[in-house]
Subunit: 100 residues, 2 copies
């Protein structure tokens, strides 16, 4: 299992629109092959900052399967214009886990 | 419930020592009031980069309860010397959650 993670900075004033659009767009990623779960979290200290976490079965489910799918074009169209600057998205493997 | 999150950059060559020390030190944070769960994840793309996620019942359980405890001094002593630069730790509240 691989965790996709990125700190997203949303354009000032667009936060509510982003959150609503993200919720509406979520079905796109939920339906992707290898998707396990996701969460979007709002930063308390920095306005417009969010942490996106998506769990995938395999790295390639995100980097190839999702990003090369037609559905990703719709995900991009709906969400990418909110980000300023464009975020760095990285992938993380487990070292220590104590939850759920 | 509040998620503490930080991207940690560990000094080059100290990664294995950091991981072992983090595991050994975990009992300190696990025992803290308001602690729910934590995970440490290793970045695939950037050597020495880690994502630390800790779930707390309330923001103050981390910012006041843990950070002002005697146990935090031991946590600092064991772990902070691994970080270069020193990380920004932030807190995130839930927007969208689909997991577990």
């Amino acid at each position: 299992m691989i965790l996709e993670a990125g700190m997203l900075q949303v354009r000032q004033g667009a936060e509510a629109d982003f959150e609503a659009t993200f919720k509406a767009a979520s079905h796109i990623i939920v339906a992707a092959q290898g998707y396990i779960s996701h969460e979007l979290r709002r930063c308390i200290e920095v306005r417009g900052k969010y942490l996106l976490l998506v769990q995938w079965e395999r790295l390639e489910d995100h980097t190839i399967g999702f990003r090369q799918s037609p559905e990703y074009q719709e995900w991009k169209r709906l969400l990418h214009h909110f980000y300023e600057p464009f975020p760095t998205i990285e992938h993380f493997e487990q070292v220590t886990l104590s939850q759920c």
